[in-house]
Symmetry: C2
Subunit: 86 residues, 2 copies
């Protein structure tokens, strides 16, 4: 079975997000005064082939996030796994 994986990575709440602040300032200067708490992170989509169960895919994705796709010291990640047709 093949799977579609969607991963979101954001800085932990306790970590300063200068990029988010910069975007918030940019939006403000464009006239959007009602925007707050802007957090910027990474979004990844990928496909995983030939894995039999959803749980096994989740285990693999968790491992890949811990080892490469996110920095567990300063970032939190969440992900969704969907079975692909065909």
């Amino acid at each position: 079975m093949n799977w579609k994986v969607k991963i979101k990575v954001l800085l932990k709440e306790s970590i300063l997000d200068p990029q988010g602040q910069a975007v918030e300032g940019g939006l403000d200067s464009l006239g959007y005064k009602n925007v707050s708490d802007v957090n910027i992170g990474k979004y990844m989509e990928l496909e995983i082939e030939d894995v039999v169960t959803k749980d096994k895919v989740k285990t693999q994705v968790d491992e890949m996030c811990q080892r490469l796709l996110a920095n567990p010291v300063i970032e939190d990640y969440t992900f969704e796994v969907e079975e692909m047709e065909g």
Copy 2:
């Protein structure tokens, strides 16, 4: 009413994604040989205050994506809008 907005930005399919290819190579070298079609983009969360209807929030977010948060020439964006309690 206040709203939580979640925005995903990815390169258009037709655009080469060297970052995605680099990550795919990194995963491969870590032993994950069953991963393909890696696409890397931006994930943003923000809050929008004092807007009465969901449609008005969507219009504002669309505008902000077109003007600042995404590059419509090379990127596609999608977003979700949720009403916040309180």
